[in-house]
Amino acid sequence: MNFQPLFLWTDILVWLLVLACLTFGWTVARTPALRSSWHAVLARPMGMASLVVLAVFVFIGLADSLHYRARLDNGQLDVEVRSLLDKALGSLNERSERTYSAPLATHAQARETIEKPDGRQVRETPRLQHGGAHLADPEKDWLADVAVRTATGLMWGALVSLSLFMLLALLMRAVWRCDLKTAFARLWLPSPAAIAWRSLLMTGALILLATGVITSLAGGYHVLGTDKVGQDVLYQTLKSVRTGLVIGTLTTLVTLPLAIGLGLLAGYFRGWVDDVIQYVYTTLNSIPWVLLVAAAVLIVQVFIEQNESSFSSVAERADVRLLALCVIIGLTGWTGLARLLRAETLKLRELDYVTAARAFGVSGPRILTRHILPNVQHLILISIVMDFSGLVLAEAILSYVGVGVDPVMNSWGNMINAARLELAREPVVWWPLVAAFSFMFALVLAANLFADVVQDAFDPRVSKAAGDKP
């Protein structure tokens, strides 16, 4: 074997989370009520489109969650930890320049003194080592080359989209048991009650077209330019996807048991249990959130610095810090949901079916898990999807404050942090900032739109209030 798999802590948790999601999906498929709610989400074009975008991000993130260390020729393990995503991106990581270069540029951004073959010294922007290196005369060929590459990329994108469409139609023909023409029609023609297939197809096609163009251009250029040390910005941005997703999801893993457990207990048992739990969350709530997180992260930082030797690689150290950040945000962020669940449980415990269960002698824990928990499920789900986008955004803020992820870790927050100085340069370096923001915006927007649709589908209150029109 010429590589050795490496399981980082967050990797393990991420895959456990995937497993949990699959189990949840299986339960949904078997429960008619949940199925109809999810069907309502997928029937909305917006819900479907945002789900596709989220799925692409998750795909990138998961590919980046399979780490390994390559075995070098001399039989030793490489110190550098790489992931499947690095492998897939191929040379994107290795083809680095010396310093800044604009997107699709053939020359570096800054002037340097270069010695010509005849001994003259001139000040000019040097050619890049990789970006557009295949062009004989960049000034003449550049436009044509970029156009050809874009067109090829679009063509490939279209080709892949069309074949996937065909494949889907063939598949659905078998599922629906109809002829191919009907299958095409059902996939393409919108109908209000059915799943929004057209939205799936169009979003998918758009993403495939964009991927085609980017892949095609990335073969010869740095599509999003290079940063201060000459690293490809596209590579960094893609690597940052995982950081954002991990913070947005693993935090929930810490939040949920606390919020659900304490919220239900407080609401159901009332009395001193309620008093204690309320005291704990009021106390936590009254501490300014950023300060609480900052304080805890500073402590972790000190701890990591002191135990520097116990981490065998930089990646492992950064990973432990990322995990610690998730735990800290989770430990400080459960109060909102707990309060919501407490209030809901207070209401539910007085309802007839709970009283009946109690009269039959059903035990407290059983009432909580069998009768109350399923009825607050929608609140939990809505809160998970709503919190996700906030957490991704919070990462940027925390990294700016200096208590975010490890500085060596690729993250949008770190990219934005670095971009502040780049904007002050002359000529201005805008591409790392724009790249980080657009990817972050795409992810957060998709998450927000998805949350909106999920809320509409699951929250009975919303649909009732919005239904009243003059």
Binding site: T283, L291, L298, Q306, A396, I416, R420, F437, L445, N448
Partner: protein, 325 residues
Amino acid sequence: MIRYFLRRLLYAFPILIGVNLITFFLFFVVNTPDNMARIHLGVKHVTPEAIEQWKAEHGYDKPLFFNPQQTGVQTVTDTLFVDRSVKLFAFQFGKADDGRDIARDIKTRMWPSLAIALPVFVIGLLANITAALLMVFYRGTRLEYAGVAGLIALMSISGLFYIIAGQYFIAKLWQWLPISGFDGGIDAIKFILLPAIVSVAAGIGSGARWYRTIFIEEIGKDYVRTARAKGLSELRVLFRHVLKNGMIPILTGAVVVLPLLFTGSLVTESFFGIPGLGSYTIDAIRSQDFAIVQAMVFLGSVLYIVGLLLTDLSYTLVDPRVRLT
């Protein structure tokens, strides 16, 4: 009513004690003063003597909870816990690591914070309500749909982007306003304007969307139908009835943050170079000055609890149905 407030004030004490225990535990038990000394002196080449000297200079040379070298009450009072945590209740914040008096710093720095935060709060509230009302007025139309989509897009942009874009375009490229800094008196306006615009833009997405749900919920109620049945115009229904009733959750939600305006915003202040409490805190975090962070945590908690009390009070003021007992 007075009894209610006395009781609530008494409730505040255990909470503040809890806050203090948490911060004390985080700062001085998990992260011992020895660690702190090492951080400040640089991790390498630190002798035990240097650590002891640093601790003595900065008042960290006492035991945490129990001092066996003293006698009587002093075994408990002459400790780090009393010095660092109990004294906070008397608003004695002590000295920062660079020797400056924290209480005095806070007193001078809270005014610039307030000068930024108050206009942001007022303008933001007005802008959010206006946007929400507009959308409720045009509900069911394409305009509202576009409005909601726009708000979701606005709230999907990182707050940092608003600041960076605002500074780059408004201050650097077009040079309408100074890029950062602060000045007292009437000159303050030109320094306040840019942070205010940026903060309002950053907040309108989630704010207006939330207020819209409040108004929409209000509009489904019976009294609105009655008002319409009386023949009132939609505009009148909206402003005279829906707005007034919708203001109850909005105002009470806003009152909580009112006292916290003094502490300012961490990110806004540090980006715009405003010498307020937000930038004070962020500098303290970056230089790992735990005394300042602890003082700010305590101050923030006190203000939050005051905010909760004010919220209760405001319920009785805006909604006559609420009586506190």
